[in-house]
Symmetry: C2
Subunit: 231 residues, 2 copies
Protein backbone atom coordinates (compact mmCIF):
# COMPACT_ATOMS: atom_id res chain seq x y z
CA UNK A 1 0.00 0.00 0.00
CA UNK A 2 1.45 3.38 -1.04
CA UNK A 3 2.52 5.82 1.63
CA UNK A 4 0.31 8.62 0.37
CA UNK A 5 -3.16 7.34 1.17
CA UNK A 6 -5.70 10.01 2.10
CA UNK A 7 -6.09 8.91 5.68
CA UNK A 8 -4.45 5.75 6.97
CA UNK A 9 -7.11 3.38 8.24
CA UNK A 10 -6.62 0.95 11.03
CA UNK A 11 -8.79 -2.12 10.82
CA UNK A 12 -8.87 -5.14 8.49
CA UNK A 13 -7.91 -8.54 9.76
CA UNK A 14 -4.45 -7.94 11.09
CA UNK A 15 -2.60 -9.46 13.98
CA UNK A 16 -2.37 -7.53 17.20
CA UNK A 17 1.25 -6.47 16.68
CA UNK A 18 0.52 -5.41 13.13
CA UNK A 19 -2.27 -3.26 14.42
CA UNK A 20 0.04 -1.77 17.01
CA UNK A 21 2.58 -0.92 14.34
CA UNK A 22 -0.20 0.70 12.38
CA UNK A 23 -1.19 2.93 15.27
CA UNK A 24 2.43 3.85 15.78
CA UNK A 25 2.70 4.87 12.14
CA UNK A 26 -0.49 6.89 12.50
CA UNK A 27 0.96 8.74 15.47
CA UNK A 28 4.11 9.56 13.52
CA UNK A 29 2.03 10.68 10.58
CA UNK A 30 -0.15 12.80 12.86
CA UNK A 31 2.89 14.61 14.23
CA UNK A 32 4.11 15.30 10.70
CA UNK A 33 0.69 16.59 9.70
CA UNK A 34 0.69 19.05 12.58
CA UNK A 35 4.15 20.21 11.57
CA UNK A 36 2.80 20.57 8.04
CA UNK A 37 0.18 22.96 9.38
CA UNK A 38 2.98 25.29 10.41
CA UNK A 39 3.41 24.07 13.94
CA UNK A 40 6.88 23.60 15.31
CA UNK A 41 7.73 20.19 16.67
CA UNK A 42 8.78 21.51 20.07
CA UNK A 43 5.33 22.96 20.63
CA UNK A 44 3.45 19.73 19.93
CA UNK A 45 1.80 18.00 22.86
CA UNK A 46 0.91 14.41 23.54
CA UNK A 47 -2.81 15.13 23.63
CA UNK A 48 -2.61 17.08 20.41
CA UNK A 49 -0.81 14.34 18.50
CA UNK A 50 -3.16 11.71 19.90
CA UNK A 51 -6.17 13.80 18.90
CA UNK A 52 -4.85 14.22 15.36
CA UNK A 53 -4.19 10.49 15.21
CA UNK A 54 -7.70 9.72 16.39
CA UNK A 55 -6.73 7.86 19.56
CA UNK A 56 -7.20 8.62 23.21
CA UNK A 57 -4.32 10.63 24.80
CA UNK A 58 -3.30 7.78 27.00
CA UNK A 59 -2.76 5.46 24.02
CA UNK A 60 0.27 7.54 23.11
CA UNK A 61 2.21 6.00 25.99
CA UNK A 62 1.85 2.52 24.52
CA UNK A 63 4.19 3.67 21.74
CA UNK A 64 6.40 6.48 22.97
CA UNK A 65 7.68 7.62 26.31
CA UNK A 66 7.39 11.28 25.34
CA UNK A 67 7.16 13.57 22.34
CA UNK A 68 10.94 13.64 22.25
CA UNK A 69 11.06 9.88 21.73
CA UNK A 70 8.57 10.25 18.90
CA UNK A 71 10.81 12.93 17.41
CA UNK A 72 13.78 10.59 17.35
CA UNK A 73 11.63 7.97 15.62
CA UNK A 74 10.71 10.57 13.02
CA UNK A 75 14.36 11.39 12.37
CA UNK A 76 15.07 7.71 11.90
CA UNK A 77 12.17 7.27 9.52
CA UNK A 78 13.16 10.35 7.54
CA UNK A 79 16.75 9.15 7.37
CA UNK A 80 15.47 6.08 5.57
CA UNK A 81 13.53 8.28 3.17
CA UNK A 82 16.61 10.36 2.43
CA UNK A 83 18.77 7.32 1.90
CA UNK A 84 16.25 6.00 -0.60
CA UNK A 85 16.57 9.27 -2.49
CA UNK A 86 20.33 8.94 -2.59
CA UNK A 87 20.11 5.39 -3.84
CA UNK A 88 17.87 6.47 -6.70
CA UNK A 89 19.95 9.49 -7.66
CA UNK A 90 22.93 7.14 -7.70
CA UNK A 91 21.49 5.30 -10.71
CA UNK A 92 21.81 8.25 -13.06
CA UNK A 93 24.88 7.93 -15.27
CA UNK A 94 24.98 11.03 -17.44
CA UNK A 95 27.82 13.37 -18.17
CA UNK A 96 28.85 15.30 -15.12
CA UNK A 97 27.02 18.57 -15.59
CA UNK A 98 23.90 17.03 -17.00
CA UNK A 99 23.91 14.57 -14.15
CA UNK A 100 24.00 17.45 -11.71
CA UNK A 101 21.01 19.22 -13.21
CA UNK A 102 19.06 16.01 -13.34
CA UNK A 103 19.90 15.14 -9.75
CA UNK A 104 18.74 18.54 -8.63
CA UNK A 105 15.45 18.09 -10.47
CA UNK A 106 14.97 14.71 -8.86
CA UNK A 107 15.75 16.24 -5.50
CA UNK A 108 13.26 19.07 -6.05
CA UNK A 109 10.49 16.64 -6.81
CA UNK A 110 11.47 14.49 -3.88
CA UNK A 111 11.38 17.37 -1.47
CA UNK A 112 7.97 18.44 -2.69
CA UNK A 113 6.60 14.93 -2.51
CA UNK A 114 7.96 14.33 0.96
CA UNK A 115 7.11 17.79 2.10
CA UNK A 116 6.37 16.93 5.69
CA UNK A 117 9.51 14.94 6.31
CA UNK A 118 11.74 17.64 4.90
CA UNK A 119 9.89 20.29 6.87
CA UNK A 120 10.62 18.31 9.99
CA UNK A 121 14.24 17.50 9.19
CA UNK A 122 15.15 21.04 8.18
CA UNK A 123 13.73 22.58 11.28
CA UNK A 124 15.15 20.03 13.69
CA UNK A 125 18.58 20.25 12.12
CA UNK A 126 19.21 23.26 14.27
CA UNK A 127 16.08 23.09 16.37
CA UNK A 128 15.46 23.14 20.06
CA UNK A 129 16.28 19.66 21.28
CA UNK A 130 19.94 18.76 21.33
CA UNK A 131 19.20 15.08 20.90
CA UNK A 132 17.20 15.62 17.77
CA UNK A 133 19.75 18.07 16.43
CA UNK A 134 22.58 15.60 16.86
CA UNK A 135 20.49 12.79 15.38
CA UNK A 136 19.81 14.83 12.25
CA UNK A 137 23.42 15.92 11.97
CA UNK A 138 24.51 12.32 12.33
CA UNK A 139 22.27 11.37 9.44
CA UNK A 140 23.79 14.14 7.36
CA UNK A 141 27.27 12.81 7.99
CA UNK A 142 26.23 9.34 6.90
CA UNK A 143 24.64 10.89 3.92
CA UNK A 144 27.78 12.66 2.79
CA UNK A 145 29.86 9.54 3.40
CA UNK A 146 27.64 7.63 1.01
CA UNK A 147 27.91 10.43 -1.49
CA UNK A 148 31.69 10.37 -1.26
CA UNK A 149 31.63 6.63 -1.91
CA UNK A 150 29.54 7.26 -4.99
CA UNK A 151 32.04 9.76 -6.31
CA UNK A 152 34.78 7.19 -5.78
CA UNK A 153 32.71 4.57 -7.58
CA UNK A 154 32.15 6.90 -10.54
CA UNK A 155 35.92 7.50 -10.55
CA UNK A 156 35.49 11.22 -10.08
CA UNK A 157 38.05 13.19 -8.10
CA UNK A 158 40.44 10.26 -7.96
CA UNK A 159 43.35 12.45 -7.00
CA UNK A 160 41.55 14.01 -4.09
CA UNK A 161 42.34 12.78 -0.57
CA UNK A 162 39.38 11.05 1.07
CA UNK A 163 39.14 13.60 3.85
CA UNK A 164 38.85 16.41 1.35
CA UNK A 165 36.28 14.56 -0.71
CA UNK A 166 34.31 13.99 2.45
CA UNK A 167 34.43 17.68 3.19
CA UNK A 168 33.20 18.58 -0.28
CA UNK A 169 30.33 16.14 0.07
CA UNK A 170 29.47 17.65 3.43
CA UNK A 171 29.25 21.02 1.73
CA UNK A 172 26.97 19.61 -0.94
CA UNK A 173 24.66 17.91 1.54
CA UNK A 174 24.59 21.11 3.53
CA UNK A 175 23.61 23.15 0.52
CA UNK A 176 20.97 20.62 -0.43
CA UNK A 177 19.36 20.62 2.97
CA UNK A 178 19.47 24.40 3.21
CA UNK A 179 17.59 24.55 -0.07
CA UNK A 180 14.76 22.38 1.24
CA UNK A 181 12.90 24.98 3.30
CA UNK A 182 13.19 27.46 0.47
CA UNK A 183 11.64 24.95 -1.89
CA UNK A 184 8.90 24.24 0.61
CA UNK A 185 8.06 27.91 1.10
CA UNK A 186 7.70 28.54 -2.64
CA UNK A 187 4.20 29.81 -3.35
CA UNK A 188 2.38 27.21 -5.44
CA UNK A 189 1.46 27.86 -9.07
CA UNK A 190 4.44 30.07 -9.87
CA UNK A 191 6.49 27.95 -12.26
CA UNK A 192 8.80 30.82 -13.17
CA UNK A 193 9.80 31.50 -9.57
CA UNK A 194 10.27 27.81 -9.06
CA UNK A 195 12.48 27.54 -12.14
CA UNK A 196 14.60 30.42 -10.90
CA UNK A 197 15.04 28.82 -7.52
CA UNK A 198 16.04 25.57 -9.16
CA UNK A 199 18.48 27.37 -11.44
CA UNK A 200 20.02 29.18 -8.49
CA UNK A 201 20.43 25.90 -6.68
CA UNK A 202 22.03 24.20 -9.72
CA UNK A 203 24.49 27.05 -10.04
CA UNK A 204 25.47 26.87 -6.38
CA UNK A 205 26.27 23.21 -6.73
CA UNK A 206 28.14 23.87 -9.97
CA UNK A 207 30.30 26.33 -8.11
CA UNK A 208 31.07 23.70 -5.51
CA UNK A 209 31.94 21.07 -8.09
CA UNK A 210 34.07 23.52 -10.05
CA UNK A 211 35.83 24.36 -6.82
CA UNK A 212 36.51 20.69 -6.27
CA UNK A 213 38.01 20.47 -9.78
CA UNK A 214 40.30 23.39 -9.12
CA UNK A 215 41.28 21.97 -5.76
CA UNK A 216 42.27 18.80 -7.57
CA UNK A 217 44.43 20.79 -9.98
CA UNK A 218 45.95 22.61 -7.08
CA UNK A 219 46.70 19.33 -5.36
CA UNK A 220 48.56 18.18 -8.44
CA UNK A 221 50.64 21.31 -8.60
CA UNK A 222 51.41 21.43 -4.89
CA UNK A 223 50.86 18.04 -3.26
CA UNK A 224 48.89 17.94 -0.04
CA UNK A 225 50.90 16.77 2.97
CA UNK A 226 48.30 14.27 4.22
CA UNK A 227 48.66 12.06 1.16
CA UNK A 228 51.33 11.35 -1.46
CA UNK A 229 49.89 11.77 -4.92
CA UNK A 230 50.60 8.57 -6.79
CA UNK A 231 51.66 8.91 -10.35
Amino acid sequence: MPALSPAPKRQDSLSRSERKDQTRAILLQAALQLIGEGRSFASLGIREIARQAGVVPNAFYRHFRSTDALGLALVEESGITLRRLLREARQVGDAKNKMLRRSVQVYFEYVKQNRLQFLFISSERSGGSKNLRLAVRNDMVHFSIEMAQDFRRLALYNEMPTATLQMVCGLIVNTMLAAAPEILDLPPGQPLLEAETLENFVQQLQIVLLGADCWKDRAQRQPQPERQHDR
Copy 2:
Protein backbone atom coordinates in the same frame (compact mmCIF):
# COMPACT_ATOMS: atom_id res chain seq x y z
CA MET B 1 17.86 50.95 49.04
CA PRO B 2 18.45 48.03 46.66
CA ALA B 3 22.05 46.85 46.44
CA LEU B 4 23.82 45.92 43.20
CA SER B 5 22.54 42.69 41.71
CA PRO B 6 24.44 40.57 39.17
CA ALA B 7 21.37 40.41 36.90
CA PRO B 8 20.68 43.43 34.69
CA LYS B 9 19.29 46.18 36.89
CA ARG B 10 16.41 48.38 36.10
CA GLN B 11 16.52 51.40 38.36
CA ASP B 12 18.76 54.45 38.55
CA SER B 13 17.43 57.83 37.68
CA LEU B 14 16.15 57.24 34.19
CA SER B 15 13.19 58.68 32.43
CA ARG B 16 10.03 56.60 32.17
CA SER B 17 10.57 55.73 28.49
CA GLU B 18 14.19 54.80 29.13
CA ARG B 19 13.00 52.48 31.86
CA LYS B 20 10.46 50.97 29.49
CA ASP B 21 13.13 50.34 26.88
CA GLN B 22 15.21 48.69 29.58
CA THR B 23 12.42 46.31 30.52
CA ARG B 24 11.89 45.51 26.88
CA ALA B 25 15.57 44.66 26.52
CA ILE B 26 15.34 42.48 29.62
CA LEU B 27 12.42 40.58 28.13
CA LEU B 28 14.35 39.97 24.91
CA GLN B 29 17.37 38.87 26.89
CA ALA B 30 15.21 36.57 29.01
CA ALA B 31 13.86 34.85 25.90
CA LEU B 32 17.40 34.35 24.60
CA GLN B 33 18.50 32.95 27.95
CA LEU B 34 15.73 30.38 27.88
CA ILE B 35 16.73 29.43 24.35
CA GLY B 36 20.27 29.12 25.62
CA GLU B 37 19.08 26.58 28.15
CA GLY B 38 18.09 24.34 25.27
CA ARG B 39 14.50 25.43 24.96
CA SER B 40 13.07 25.99 21.53
CA PHE B 41 11.57 29.39 20.85
CA ALA B 42 8.22 27.99 19.80
CA SER B 43 7.76 26.37 23.17
CA LEU B 44 8.35 29.53 25.19
CA GLY B 45 5.38 31.06 26.96
CA ILE B 46 4.59 34.58 28.01
CA ARG B 47 4.56 33.69 31.69
CA GLU B 48 7.87 31.88 31.35
CA ILE B 49 9.63 34.78 29.67
CA ALA B 50 8.17 37.25 32.16
CA ARG B 51 9.29 35.06 35.05
CA GLN B 52 12.83 34.85 33.67
CA ALA B 53 12.82 38.62 33.19
CA GLY B 54 11.64 39.17 36.75
CA VAL B 55 8.41 40.94 35.90
CA VAL B 56 4.79 40.00 36.39
CA PRO B 57 3.25 38.06 33.44
CA ASN B 58 0.92 40.87 32.56
CA ALA B 59 3.78 43.34 32.09
CA PHE B 60 4.74 41.42 28.96
CA TYR B 61 1.78 42.94 27.13
CA ARG B 62 3.09 46.45 27.63
CA HIS B 63 5.90 45.52 25.21
CA PHE B 64 4.76 42.75 22.89
CA ARG B 65 1.44 41.54 21.60
CA SER B 66 2.56 37.91 21.72
CA THR B 67 5.66 35.73 21.81
CA ASP B 68 5.69 35.84 18.01
CA ALA B 69 6.04 39.61 18.07
CA LEU B 70 8.92 39.25 20.50
CA GLY B 71 10.49 36.73 18.09
CA LEU B 72 10.39 39.22 15.25
CA ALA B 73 12.04 41.80 17.47
CA LEU B 74 14.77 39.27 18.25
CA VAL B 75 15.39 38.64 14.55
CA GLU B 76 15.69 42.36 14.00
CA GLU B 77 18.11 42.77 16.88
CA SER B 78 20.21 39.83 15.71
CA GLY B 79 20.24 41.20 12.19
CA ILE B 80 21.93 44.29 13.56
CA THR B 81 24.47 42.11 15.37
CA LEU B 82 25.25 40.22 12.18
CA ARG B 83 25.60 43.38 10.18
CA ARG B 84 28.10 44.68 12.70
CA LEU B 85 30.12 41.50 12.20
CA LEU B 86 30.13 42.04 8.46
CA ARG B 87 31.26 45.62 8.85
CA GLU B 88 34.19 44.54 10.98
CA ALA B 89 35.23 41.66 8.74
CA ARG B 90 35.15 44.15 5.87
CA GLN B 91 38.06 46.07 7.34
CA VAL B 92 40.53 43.24 6.86
CA GLY B 93 42.67 43.78 3.76
CA ASP B 94 44.95 40.77 3.53
CA ALA B 95 45.72 38.62 0.55
CA LYS B 96 42.76 36.55 -0.52
CA ASN B 97 43.42 33.25 1.15
CA LYS B 98 44.82 34.72 4.32
CA MET B 99 41.83 37.02 4.47
CA LEU B 100 39.52 34.06 4.27
CA ARG B 101 41.15 32.24 7.16
CA ARG B 102 41.18 35.36 9.25
CA SER B 103 37.54 36.10 8.50
CA VAL B 104 36.60 32.59 9.53
CA GLN B 105 38.46 32.97 12.79
CA VAL B 106 36.70 36.26 13.46
CA TYR B 107 33.39 34.62 12.65
CA PHE B 108 34.11 31.70 14.99
CA GLU B 109 34.80 34.04 17.85
CA TYR B 110 31.80 36.10 17.02
CA VAL B 111 29.49 33.12 17.03
CA LYS B 112 30.82 31.95 20.36
CA GLN B 113 30.51 35.39 21.88
CA ASN B 114 27.00 35.91 20.62
CA ARG B 115 26.02 32.35 21.34
CA LEU B 116 22.39 33.04 22.17
CA GLN B 117 21.64 35.14 19.14
CA PHE B 118 23.14 32.59 16.77
CA LEU B 119 21.31 29.80 18.52
CA PHE B 120 18.11 31.66 17.94
CA ILE B 121 18.80 32.67 14.35
CA SER B 122 19.94 29.22 13.24
CA SER B 123 16.94 27.48 14.65
CA GLU B 124 14.40 29.99 13.38
CA ARG B 125 15.94 29.98 9.92
CA SER B 126 13.89 26.92 9.18
CA GLY B 127 11.85 26.86 12.34
CA GLY B 128 8.17 26.63 13.03
CA SER B 129 6.77 30.07 12.38
CA LYS B 130 6.63 31.11 8.75
CA ASN B 131 6.90 34.78 9.66
CA LEU B 132 10.11 34.29 11.60
CA ARG B 133 11.51 32.03 8.91
CA LEU B 134 10.92 34.60 6.20
CA ALA B 135 12.30 37.37 8.40
CA VAL B 136 15.55 35.44 8.93
CA ARG B 137 15.81 34.53 5.27
CA ASN B 138 15.26 38.16 4.37
CA ASP B 139 18.16 39.13 6.60
CA MET B 140 20.33 36.52 4.94
CA VAL B 141 19.58 37.98 1.51
CA HIS B 142 20.53 41.46 2.70
CA PHE B 143 23.60 39.96 4.15
CA SER B 144 24.76 38.36 0.92
CA ILE B 145 23.98 41.54 -1.00
CA GLU B 146 26.33 43.45 1.29
CA MET B 147 28.95 40.78 0.85
CA ALA B 148 28.66 41.01 -2.92
CA GLN B 149 29.15 44.76 -2.70
CA ASP B 150 32.27 44.17 -0.68
CA PHE B 151 33.67 41.85 -3.32
CA ARG B 152 32.97 44.51 -5.94
CA ARG B 153 34.68 47.10 -3.77
CA LEU B 154 37.73 44.91 -3.38
CA ALA B 155 37.70 44.45 -7.17
CA LEU B 156 37.42 40.71 -6.88
CA TYR B 157 35.48 38.75 -9.49
CA ASN B 158 35.17 41.77 -11.73
CA GLU B 159 34.26 39.69 -14.74
CA MET B 160 31.45 37.92 -12.95
CA PRO B 161 27.88 39.05 -13.65
CA THR B 162 26.21 40.56 -10.59
CA ALA B 163 23.54 37.88 -10.44
CA THR B 164 26.17 35.16 -10.31
CA LEU B 165 28.20 36.97 -7.69
CA GLN B 166 25.04 37.34 -5.65
CA MET B 167 24.46 33.62 -5.93
CA VAL B 168 27.99 32.83 -4.78
CA CYS B 169 27.59 35.12 -1.80
CA GLY B 170 24.30 33.42 -0.98
CA LEU B 171 26.13 30.12 -0.93
CA ILE B 172 28.79 31.55 1.37
CA VAL B 173 26.28 33.05 3.79
CA ASN B 174 24.42 29.76 3.74
CA THR B 175 27.53 27.81 4.59
CA MET B 176 28.43 30.24 7.33
CA LEU B 177 25.06 30.05 8.97
CA ALA B 178 24.97 26.26 8.72
CA ALA B 179 28.28 26.17 10.55
CA ALA B 180 26.94 28.16 13.48
CA PRO B 181 25.02 25.39 15.26
CA GLU B 182 27.97 23.05 14.81
CA ILE B 183 30.24 25.59 16.42
CA LEU B 184 27.77 26.08 19.23
CA ASP B 185 27.44 22.36 19.89
CA LEU B 186 31.20 21.89 20.19
CA PRO B 187 32.03 20.47 23.60
CA PRO B 188 34.05 23.07 25.51
CA GLY B 189 37.70 22.54 26.33
CA GLN B 190 38.56 20.49 23.26
CA PRO B 191 40.81 22.80 21.27
CA LEU B 192 41.79 20.07 18.80
CA LEU B 193 38.21 19.29 17.83
CA GLU B 194 37.54 22.97 17.54
CA ALA B 195 40.56 23.48 15.31
CA GLU B 196 39.41 20.65 13.08
CA THR B 197 35.95 22.12 12.77
CA LEU B 198 37.45 25.47 11.91
CA GLU B 199 39.76 23.89 9.35
CA ASN B 200 36.87 22.03 7.76
CA PHE B 201 34.92 25.24 7.55
CA VAL B 202 37.84 27.13 5.99
CA GLN B 203 38.25 24.41 3.39
CA GLN B 204 34.59 24.48 2.48
CA LEU B 205 34.75 28.20 1.85
CA GLN B 206 38.00 27.76 -0.10
CA ILE B 207 36.21 25.30 -2.34
CA VAL B 208 33.46 27.84 -2.95
CA LEU B 209 35.92 30.63 -3.75
CA LEU B 210 37.95 28.36 -6.00
CA GLY B 211 34.72 27.46 -7.75
CA ALA B 212 34.00 31.12 -8.26
CA ASP B 213 37.46 31.55 -9.80
CA CYS B 214 36.89 28.71 -12.21
CA TRP B 215 33.45 30.01 -13.06
CA LYS B 216 35.08 33.29 -13.96
CA ASP B 217 37.54 31.50 -16.22
CA ARG B 218 34.68 29.60 -17.75
CA ALA B 219 32.78 32.81 -18.35
CA GLN B 220 35.78 34.16 -20.23
CA ARG B 221 36.01 31.11 -22.41
CA GLN B 222 32.28 30.83 -23.08
CA PRO B 223 30.45 34.10 -22.36
CA GLN B 224 27.27 33.94 -20.29
CA PRO B 225 24.12 34.95 -22.17
CA GLU B 226 22.79 37.29 -19.47
CA ARG B 227 25.64 39.77 -19.87
CA GLN B 228 28.15 40.77 -22.49
CA HIS B 229 31.61 40.55 -21.13
CA ASP B 230 33.27 43.83 -21.76
CA ARG B 231 36.87 43.81 -22.66
